[in-house]
Amino acid sequence: MNSLQQLGHGALTAFQRLGRAHLFLFAILAGLPSLLLRLRLLIQQIFSVGVLSLVITVVAGLFVGMVLGLQGYNTLVDFGAEDSLGVMVALSLVRELGPVVAALLFAGRAGSALTAEIGLMKATEQLSGMEMMAVDPLKRVIAPRFLAGVLSLPLLAAIFSAVGVMGGYFVGVGLLGVDEGAFWSQMQSRVDFDEDIMNGVIKSIVFGVVVTWIAVFEGYDAVPTSAGVSRATTRTVVYASLAVLGLDFVLTALMFGEI
C-alpha cells in the first residue's frame, strides 16, 4: 500500500513538473518579442552560451571526424571502396553526429552552466530581488538565455560537422592517401543539401530548443539550496542527454526512415 502510494505520488509530481515546464515554456515564448529591443542582453548570452562552447565543439568535432576517417578507411579499404570515405564521413557527421554530439556537449557545457547560474540566482534571491524591482526575471534573465541557446546550438552543430569533415579529410586524404578528388566529388554527389544538411540543421534546432528549455527550467525550478542546485544541474545533463538521444531516433525515423 505504501509503495503504491509512493508510486502514485511520484507520478503526480512528475506530471505536475511536466505541466509546469510547459507553462514555463509558454511564458518564455511570450517574453521573446520584447528581447528584440534588448539585443545587447541576447548578445551577452550568446557569448556565454555559444562562444564559450566553441572550443570544446571544435576540438571534439575534429577528433570525431578523424576517428571516422580512420575507422571508415579501415572498413572501406577491404572493399576497395576507400574513395567513398568522404561520403561516409560527411553523411555520418551531417545527419547524426554533428547535431547529436554537439547537443550532448552543449548540454554538458552550456546547459549545466545555465542551470547552475539560474539556480544560484534563485538561491541568492536575485530572481525575487528582480521581481521586487518590478523586473520580470522571465524576460530579463530566462528569455535571453533561452533564445541564445536555441540560436547557438545549430551554429555549433554546423561548425562541428564542418570541422569533422576537415578532420576526416586530414586523416583520409592527408595520412591514408585517399584520392582527394574522389573524396570531395563522391561526397558532393551523394550528400544532398535538402535531405541531409537541412535535416541535420532542423535536428540541431530541435535539440537546441529542448536542451536549453530543460536547462533553464531546471535552474528556475531548482530547490534554492546548494544541494538543490547541484541536483538540478545533474538533472539537466541527464535529462537533456536522454532527450537528445531519444528525439534523435524519432527525428531520424521521420526524416530518413521508412518505419
Binding site: E125, S128, E131, M132, M133, A134
Partner: protein, 272 residues
C-alpha cells in the same frame, strides 16, 4: 499629525497558510507614512513572508493588504509591477546581481525603468552610492564586497528610483558591530532625508528599537504586542517582555512541541 491617520500600508485580517501550516492568522497592521515600523518576532514567525505578501510576491489566503490605497492581492501583474517601482526592498542577502558591477547594480533599476540618458544614470548612481558611502567601490564586483558593504550597495539600489517605501529584511543579521552601526544610521538618515516609509523586519531588539517609531511583535501568526519601543519595554504582557529582554524560557517555550520525552526515549523508535 494624529496617529493612524496617514497609513501607507494597511493589512486587515491577513491570513496566510503554507500547506497545512498557519503562518498568519488574521493580523491587522497599520504602517504610517514617513515612519520606521519594525516587525519583530522570533525566527520562524514568517516575518519575511510578510514582506513578500506586501510586495505581492505571494498571495494571502484571506484578508487585504492596501499599499498606498491599492489592494495588493487584487492587482493585475502589470499594476503590481507599477506599484513595485515605488517600493524598494532590501533582501537579507542583498540579492545583488552577481554578474554586474556595483555601479551597474545600482544603475539596473534606472536602466530598466527609466529611459534616462546614460549621463544622467551615471550621475544618479554616483549620488546614491555617495549616500551609502560606497562611491569608491563602484568598480568592484559583488563577490569582492563584504556582507555589510553588499547590503549598503543593495540599499543604494533600493533607493535608486526614489521609492515611497523601503522594506528591510533582517538588515542587521550577521553584521559586525561597526557595519551594524553604519546600517542603523543609514536607515534612519535615509528615512528622514528622503521622507521614506520604512518597514523593517528584524529580531535584533536593540538596534530595531533604537530607530523604530513603532513596533509590532508577532508570534505564532498573531500580533502579540504593538506600540512604540518604550511602550513595549513596559508592556504588561509577559511574552512581549520575554522577547524584548531575550530570556531563554518563558511563555515562548524552549522546546519545539513534542511528545512525552520519557516515552520517546523508552520506545524503540519503531515508527521510523
Amino acid at each position: 499629525m494624529t496617529d493612524k491617520q496617514d497609513n501607507l500600508v494597511e493589512a486587515r485580517g491577513l491570513t496566510f497558510h503554507f500547506g497545512s501550516r498557519v503562518i498568519f492568522d488574521g493580523i491587522d497592521l497599520d504602517l504610517q507614512r514617513g515612519k520606521i515600523t519594525a516587525i519583530m518576532g522570533p525566527s520562524g514567525t514568517g516575518k519575511t513572508t510578510l514582506l513578500r505578501l506586501i510586495g505581492g510576491q505571494i498571495k494571502p489566503t484571506a484578508g487585504t493588504i492596501h499599499v498606498d490605497g491599492q489592494n495588493v492581492p487584487g492587482l493585475s501583474r502589470r499594476e503590481l509591477f507599477e506599484l513595485r517601482k515605488r517600493m524598494g526592498m532590501l533582501f537579507q542577502s542583498g540579492a545583488l546581481l552577481t554578474d554586474l558591477s556595483v555601479f551597474d547594480n545600482v544603475a539596473f533599476p534606472l536602466r530598466e525603468h527609466t529611459g534616462l540618458p546614460e549621463m544622467m544614470v551615471r550621475d544618479l548612481v554616483l549620488m546614491k552610492l555617495e549616500a551609502v558611502g560606497l562611491r569608491g567601490a563602484q568598480r568592484l564586483m559583488p563577490s569582492e564586497l563584504s556582507g555589510g558593504m553588499a547590503r549598503r550597495v543593495a540599499l543604494a539600489r533600493a533607493i535608486a528610483l526614489d521609492p515611497m517605501m523601503i522594506m528591510y529584511d533582517e538588515p542587521f543579521t550577521g553584521q559586525d558591530p561597526i557595519s551594524m552601526g553604519v546600517l542603523v544610521k543609514l536607515i534612519s538618515d535615509l528615512n528622514e532625508v528622503l521622507g521614506l516609509t520604512s518597514i523593517m523586519v528584524s529580531h535584533d531588539v536593540a538596534e530595531a528599537s533604537q530607530i523604530a517609531d513603532y513596533i509590532y511583535v508577532l508570534s505564532q501568526g498573531i500580533v502579540v504586542g504593538q506600540g512604540t519601543p518604550d511602550e513595549l519595554r513596559d508592556s504588561d504582557s509577559e511574552w512581549v517582555r520575554q522577547f524584548m529582554e531575550g530570556t531563554p524560557d518563558g511563555p515562548v517555550p524552549f522546546h519545539y512541541p513534542a511528545g512525552d520525552y520519557a516515552d520517546e526515549l523508552l520506545s524503540r523508535g519503531d515508527r521510523r
